[in-house]
């Protein structure tokens, strides 16, 4: 069974919600990313999203843009990221999803990319600029390699799209908390509870909320109405804050501990 599915099964049985941490692979370096994954697992992350840095991150706010550019400057490539994933797999079974824009996938070919990712130990793919409408080949490849294909719902998603997206999504459904790019915000709109309920009516797959979640209070509030919470930019900011310090992974882990223990 896919590690993401297994994780949600366990969490459900225990009556728990998922804490999902996003970090940009290669920021500030791939060695740091490897150490961070293991430290985050220790501090209560249930699933980790590894961002493949992209030259044109059009769905990201300034924090993740900056991390992506630094990671690319460091020479981070898909191949090196998958090598790192293999190294992690020797010591950890934490569910890992790749978050990437579509072009790096399309460029090598959907089937080829999924096969390589699965072989390295990747459990899911999250591609913000690939709606299910354009993902026929990728979905077939993911199905063939038991890799979760995680699609998005948004506050602007029309009623007619909810069911087909929920059906196409495997692993979990990524619910974007607000119309916008990644990054922290002053507040998360109140309508989110209603939107999540609408999604829950048509699917029993796990629905997790991401974009703009940055404090323990928000983690708690979002977890109350969903199956899990995704935090990205807030963690990247913490990495930036302690970048260059020897104990950076431990300090970031301590920050994540505070968030995950709010669940």
């Amino acid at each position: 069974m896919n590690r993401i599915d297994l994780k949600f099964q366990q969490l459900r049985k225990a009556g728990k919600k998922a804490f999902i941490a996003y970090i940009t692979a290669g920021y500030p370096s791939l060695e740091a990313t490897e150490a961070l994954v293991l430290a985050l697992e220790e501090s209560g992350a249930d699933i980790i999203e590894l961002g493949i840095p992209f030259s044109d991150p059009m769905a990201d706010g300034p924090t993740i843009q900056e991390a992506s550019f630094k990671a690319l400057e460091n020479g981070t490539t898909v191949r090196k990221i998958l090598d790192m994933v293999r190294a992690i797999r020797r010591v950890s079974n934490i569910p890992l999803a790749l978050m990437t824009y579509y072009n790096p996938v399309f460029h090598v070919g959907d089937a080829h990319f999924v096969e390589a990712a699965a072989a390295a130990g990747i459990d899911g793919l999250i591609i913000p600029d690939l709606p299910p409408d354009e993902a026929k080949e990728l979905r077939a490849a993911c199905l063939a390699h038991d890799v979760a294909n995680i699609f998005f719902l948004s506050p602007t998603t029309t009623a007619a799209r909810i069911a087909p997206i929920a059906k196409a999504s495997t692993g979990f459904i990524y619910f974007v908390s607000v119309a916008g790019v990644t990054g922290s915000r002053k507040s998360i709109p109140a309508e989110i509870a209603r939107d999540i309920r609408a999604a829950k009516k048509v699917t029993d797959k796990p629905v997790c909320i991401g974009f703009g979640v940055s404090t323990p209070e928000e983690v708690k509030a979002m977890a109350n109405i969903s199956d899990g919470v995704i935090v990205g930019s807030a963690i990247i900011k913490e990495i930036t804050k302690h970048s260059g310090q020897k104990d950076m992974p431990a300090r970031v882990a301590a920050f994540v501990q505070k968030l995950s223990s709010a669940l």
Partner: protein, 407 residues
């Protein structure tokens, strides 16, 4: 040039899902899908609505100054010997380039959709100016994203946009040119999608934009075809246009699509040279890829990262191209060639000297291909060049080039 038989039935592209063969489509965050579906429907309704057509025609004529003339460039033709050259004078339009055709169409649509805030990206500043202009015309709020690098090279257009009441936001990320301006415009759009209309300036982006911009620009080719038939009692042998995103080229190509005897040639920017890596020739040198919402030709590295483009013409300085052009290339309906910065300067000088018309650096790429074409053809051939814009905005760049040459 060799003609291939076409296997495309009339009006079959894009297909219902917005694809040109396997190109085009909608590669956007879910948050934008609803507005794109909505926009597609609104566009369909508008294109069928006599009131919309009437309003669009009115502003094209009385505000933008259509129809533009098809001008026989006699001295230029004499110099080229084997070519009889006509210029489609989009440079004579209000604001100085073809971009106004599209911004008028889209602003009328945006008003029908009750949008109150307009955003746009711009490279050369021509689309930004054309957008700021139509926003002033209708009293709408306007924000233009422009790469910080382009803000410098097209300073005059920045002044124009600000005079017209637009807020110009210099974009500091990435290469600080058109592609980064487009990234930033998309980020704004995805955040403010409720009240904001994204007015894209070329035949790229997610469906229905490539089709919509083509529909609003095809007036160029419709007029040119009629005007040419009237003057020459036949169709031209060649139609030439520069290709950045591809809107002026698609505008003039599309009405000739089924005229199999007419060769369509798109001219990309070869920058410092096609083998230097510093160019913008997505079709000539790129591979299939996905950027800014559509699948098309894209300059990218082995890891699928988008590569920096270069052209002396800010309006061509973009690593992608509209999907319909790549489609025309794949089905053999159009050919694509590339002209270097240096050759483009030659084209600009040639037209200035022979006809008393100073073209935009973008259009100069199409003009610079004329002497090459003249050497290839057998006998005497006719050609229409889309003179997409005038050169006023480029005088700063040209002055630098001239200063450099005289040292």
């Amino acid at each position: 040039m060799r003609k291939k038989r076409l296997s495309v039935k009339k009006n079959k592209f894009p297909d219902k899902t917005g694809h040109y063969g396997d190109l085009g489509g909608r590669f956007v965050p879910e948050t934008l899908m609803a507005i794109l579906i909505d926009l597609e429907q609104e566009l369909k309704n508008a294109l069928k609505d006599p009131a919309f057509k009437k309003e669009f025609r009115y502003y094209l004529k009385d505000f933008a100054n259509r129809p533009t003339s098809l001008y026989y460039a006699e001295r230029l033709s004499r110099e080229l010997k084997t070519l009889k050259v006509y210029l489609k004078r989009e440079d004579l339009l209000h604001t100085g380039a073809h971009k106004i055709n599209n911004t008028l169409g889209q602003i009328i649509l945006a008003r029908r959709m009750k949008k109150t805030r307009i955003i746009a990206e711009t490279g050369a500043g021509q689309h930004g100016v054309a957008t700021a202009t139509v926003c002033a015309l209708f009293g709408l709020k306007c924000v233009v994203y422009m790469g910080a690098e382009d803000v410098k090279r097209q300073a005059l257009n920045v002044v124009r946009m600000r005079l017209l009441g637009a807020e110009v936001v210099p974009v500091q990320s990435g290469t600080k040119t058109l592609k980064d301006a487009m990234n930033e415009a998309i980020r704004d759009w995805v955040t403010n999608v409720k009240d904001t209309y994204y007015l894209i300036g070329t035949v790229a982006g997610p469906h229905p934009y490539p089709m919509m911009v083509r529909e609003f620009q095809k007036i160029i080719g419709q007029e040119a075809r009629q005007q040419f038939l009237k003057k020459e009692k036949k169709l031209p042998d060649y139609v030439l246009a520069c290709v950045g995103g591809g809107s002026n080229a698609m505008g003039i190509f599309y009405p000739f699509f089924y005229d199999a005897s007419v060769s369509l040639i798109g001219v990309e920017a070869a920058g410092h040279g096609l083998d230097t890596g510093a160019h913008s020739a997505a079709i000539c040198k790129g591979a299939a890829g996905v950027l800014h919402g559509c699948k098309s030709a894209l300059l990218q590295n082995a890891d699928g990262q988008v590569q920096n483009a270069h052209s002396i013409a800010a309006g061509l300085d973009y690593p992608g191209v509209g999907p319909e052009h790549y489609y025309y290339k794949k089905i053999g309906r159009a050919d694509y060639v590339a002209i270097t910065d240096k050759e483009a300067i030659g084209g600009l000088k040639l037209l200035s000297r022979t006809e008393g018309i100073i073209p935009a650096l973008e259009s100069s790429h199409a003009l610079a291909y004329l002497p090459k074409l003249a050497r290839q053809v057998k006998g005497k051939k006719t050609v229409i060049v889309c003179l997409s814009g005038r050169g006023d905005k480029d005088m700063g760049t040209i002055q630098e080039v001239l200063d450099h040459e005289s040292h």
